[in-house]
């Protein structure tokens, strides 16, 4: 091929990821679900997985996954995405299967399903969006809600006496034998977004390599239910949330330990 004629600004350096359906999302302004969807779509594109992927949608603000990510998607009952994904992957081990779950979904009602999927080392990738609340149902307490945080069901602030403690899922799951990869990331700065992408890529590679369950926990915002402007919500992630939920990689299986 001959070199293309150089026209100013003719090279698209950022376009919509192929696997991100070209529609307006229903997410609230500044909600990080949108950012995370984008990252997932980009990573699907990167490994050319679109035509062999089955996504599993959770119940929560991300329930419309099938409207946004251009892959086959099955809807799971609230919290059961890892179980549904298990059923898909056991039937089609050659396909790429991921779940996309909120913190109410994964860390409350779905605790058992994620723990046992991880413990079995199901060869799945889990995108876990921790926004410290139940977004879709109007901002109730989640297991990840911070101490003192006011939600519609902790109107006086979460108190560990009675309501318990914010639960750190990435660490908990890292403690299980079957977990191949567990990391916590955020998307509140451009640098964090880049790092988050790397983590998702790692997670996808784990599955491609047949290493077991990989999970990436995203610290995310819910400006609507936090009653904050999106920029303030980002600040909360960078501040108190990251303090309690440290970013980092908690487990990363090497080829060698998997035998």
């Amino acid at each position: 091929m001959s070199a293309p004629v150089k026209v100013p600004f003719s090279k698209a350096v950022y376009t919509r990821p192929r696997s991100l359906v070209d529609v307006r999302s229903h997410f609230c302004p500044g909600c990080h679900h949108g950012t995370i969807h984008k990252i997932v779509a980009e990573c699907i594109d990167r490994y050319d997985l679109r035509e062999k992927t089955i996504g599993v949608a959770c119940v929560g603000c991300a329930v419309f996954l099938y409207d946004y990510i251009d892959v086959d998607v099955v809807e799971a009952p609230h919290g059961r995405a890892p179980a549904v994904a298990t059923g898909v992957k056991r039937a089609q081990p050659d396909k790429f299967v991921f779940t996309y779950q909120g913190d109410g979904d994964l860390a409350a009602i779905g605790t058992s399903e994620i723990i046992h999927a991880a413990n079995r080392g199901e060869n799945l990738s889990v995108i876990f969006v921790n926004n410290t609340t139940y977004g879709m149902t109007g901002g109730q307490m989640a297991p990840t809600t911070m101490l003192g945080q006011k939600t519609s069901t902790t109107p006086y602030g979460r108190d560990f006496r009675g309501d318990g403690y914010p639960i750190r899922m990435a660490e908990l799951l890292a403690g299980l034998e079957g977990t191949a990869y567990s990391a916590r990331v955020a998307v509140s700065t451009p640098a964090q977004i880049r790092k988050a992408k790397e983590s998702v890529r790692k997670a996808f590679e784990m599955q491609i390599g047949g290493m077991g369950l990989s999970i990436v926990e995203f610290l995310s915002t819910c400006p609507t239910n936090w009653g904050m402007k999106p920029l303030d919500a980002q600040k909360r992630v960078l501040g108190e949330m990251s303090e309690y939920f440290p970013l980092g990689v908690f487990k990363e299986r090497k080829q060698a330990d998997f035998a």
Partner: protein
């Protein structure tokens, strides 16, 4: 008086608040009344609506398929609800955001109210737009008395915002004036 109305607009425009206020007012006047808000995911994604039914008899459905009144605060709501308005019904639109040419029916009674403009320019607070529209609707429909609405304001406005009650009254009055009503 008997009547029913659907109110709709963006979230944040105060739709549920004015619906609630209207229902309270009707109750205060001894009417049967129901108020039915949008709920759940309907409240995500930036739109909100509610239905108020006022009657002298026991009310059946709090949801109506052919409302006699429509109060529309933004463009998307117009598309959704205009077809439902009963022929001859009252249509109050926020003409600051909704273009009159969007009103594709002529079997209804249109009252365009530049609610946002009035709120910003005359009342001094954009928050008051929905009150302006409510004032206009109340005056036009006569469903309740404007003075009872004034009386009920303290019940929907929390103590913290008490000081804004006069502002609300002004807004209601400005709206009512547009419907030819002068308190």
């Amino acid at each position: 008086m008997t009547g029913d109305i659907i109110m709709a607009g963006f979230g944040g425009q105060g739709i549920l608040m004015i619906g609630n206020l209207l229902a309270l007012t009707a109750m205060e006047e001894g009417k049967h009344v129901t108020y039915f808000p949008a709920y759940g995911v309907e409240m995500r994604g930036g739109t909100a609506n509610c239905t108020v039914v006022v009657s002298d008899e026991e009310i059946g459905s709090p949801v109506v398929g052919r409302p006699k009144g429509l109060l529309i605060m933004n463009g998307p709501s117009m598309e959704k609800f205009l077809p439902m308005l009963a022929p001859g019904g009252d249509l109050v639109i926020n003409s600051s955001l909704v273009e009159e040419r969007q009103v594709t029916r002529n079997d209804i009674r249109l009252l365009p109210v530049p609610a946002d403009d009035i709120a910003r320019n005359k009342i001094g607070s954009r928050q008051m737009a929905s009150m302006v529209a409510l004032g206009a609707y109340v005056a036009r429909s006569g469903i309740v008395k404007l003075s009872t609405v004034f009386d009920c304001l303290p019940k929907v406005i929390s103590k913290k915002y008490e000081k804004f009650i006069p502002l609300n009254i002004n807004a209601l009055k400005e709206g009512a004036a547009l419907a030819g009503f002068h308190a």
